[in-house]
């Protein structure tokens, strides 16, 4: 399905197709909102969307990575201003992830040597287990948060005054401090976590944003908003490399990437601002839903319903954008009403 003949129809010389510029802007906008809000690149939304509208798959991946690079700069800058980027943590994450990706890629090569009939299903089923496992765990975490908070409060109440509950950490030296995230953690623990996320990223052949973000929350202990911003900071580097390597192979349609970047930049402003109004557990809940829908899409693909899988991802992304924008608008209105009522009004609540 090539979009052509309309008022906003443009010719994309590298991909060799006619395409509607408004569709490019809309795809960019949608993934900009999701990327800014969840701290992910969003390749799992853009690639099938471009493919549905007529892009050859190779050009869809390359063009997507190019626009992700530009968009992550815009979103990271804004997250940085809101104090959501832990640069030190981001740099350590890149170091650990790079090593993990290398081992993950080698694992795939080892499986490939065993035969194409082995590697394809192993990777696809692992991807599904990963997405459904992560999604259901985050959903469970959200649903039981009040119960856990009550148990924690009850435990604290039974303790003698001044004593705090003991926390279990592997304090193997050297210890690293991350003041922005408020985390002090062993170098080996953090390298292990990022090595694991990198390995998954290399093994599954994905950017890894959706794996790193929950890992930062659950395994490292970052606040959700900082996990989002720090993950985007890492995406800047992976996106830059993705853009370069795909362009060097002739697979980046730069005109389309630039148009998508404009849409994504507007969307990213909304997505990042929404983090201000939707707090930690709200972000985790929406992320869990999105990950489960992505898992359903991979399952559809596995059962040879590729077109339905792409439409499912696109529709889910659009619906999630709408939810984020509505929640942001509600938060904004509430904040404005509180400001109008004066500082005393919120203090009396």
């Amino acid at each position: 399905m090539e979009t052509g003949g309309g008022m906003f129809d443009i010719f994309l010389p590298i991909a060799g197709i006619h395409f509607n510029a408004l569709i490019l802007l809309a795809i960019g906008f949608a993934v900009g909102v999701l990327g800014g809000f969840f701290g992910v690149g969003g390749a799992w939304v853009v690639t099938p969307a471009l493919n549905i509208f007529g892009f050859n798959m190779a050009y869809a991946i390359g063009t997507d990575l190019a626009h992700i690079f530009g968009k992550s700069i815009v979103a990271t800058k804004k997250h940085g201003k809101m104090g959501n980027v832990d640069v030190k943590m981001g740099l350590v994450s890149i170091l650990g992830s790079v090593l993990g990706v290398e081992v993950g890629a080698r694992t795939v090569m080892w499986l490939t040597a065993k035969g194409e009939h082995v590697v394809g299903p192993v990777v696809r089923y692992s991807y599904m287990v990963m997405l459904f496992g992560l999604g259901f765990y985050m959903l469970y975490d959200y649903l039981t948060k009040d119960k856990r908070a009550a148990a924690k409060a009850a435990a604290a109440a039974t303790m003698p005054p001044g004593q705090v509950p003991e926390k279990k950490y592997w304090n193997i030296p050297p210890m690293l401090s991350f003041p922005t995230s408020g985390v002090r953690i062993s170098f080996w623990t953090i390298m292990g976590v990022f090595f694991l996320t990198g390995w998954l990223s290399g093994f599954l052949g994905v950017g890894g944003g959706f794996i790193r973000m929950p890992a930062l929350i659950y395994l490292v202990g970052c606040p959700t908003a900082i996990a989002v911003g720090t993950d985007l900071f890492s995406v800047v580097f992976t996106g830059a490399w993705g853009c370069f390597t795909y362009a060097a192979k002739g697979r980046v349609e730069i005109v389309a990437a630039l148009i998508m970047l404009v849409g994504a930049s507007v969307g990213a402003q909304i997505g990042v601002t929404a983090v201000k109004y939707i707090h930690g557990y709200g972000i985790r809940l929406l992320f869990a839903i999105m990950v489960l829908l992505a898992g359903a899409s991979v399952a559809l693909k596995q059962f040879d319903v590729g077109k339905a899988a792409a439409y499912l991802v696109m529709c889910s992304a659009l619906a999630m954008c709408l939810v984020i924008m509505v929640q942001m608008a509600r938060g904004f209105m509430k904040e404005r009403a509180e400001k109008a009522a004066g500082p005393g009004a919120s203090a009396h609540k």
Binding site: P13, F69, S72, I73, K78, M82, T224, C243, K249, V252
Partner: protein, 96 residues
Amino acid sequence: MKKAVVALAFVLAHFFSRLCAASEGLDVPEALERKVPLDGLTGLSRFFASTYNDNLTLYAVICTVIMAIVGIVIAYGTDVILKAMGMEVHKIEHKE
């Protein structure tokens, strides 16, 4: 911190060179030898297409640099615009 950045740069350089070497076998010759017809193209489209035809590495550098510049310009530009509109963001309290 400087030592960490140098070590990171070294690991990244090593990793990327390994990736380049590994991805050589994945290139599809037709895609690399493909030439974009320049007939009817003008302005930026013609510039991109002719660079693509002449030197893919230069095209890759141009793509990466352009995306970075446009990203930075938009990031700082929107900052200025939003500030002028009174919608500037500040550090937020991290609530779970």
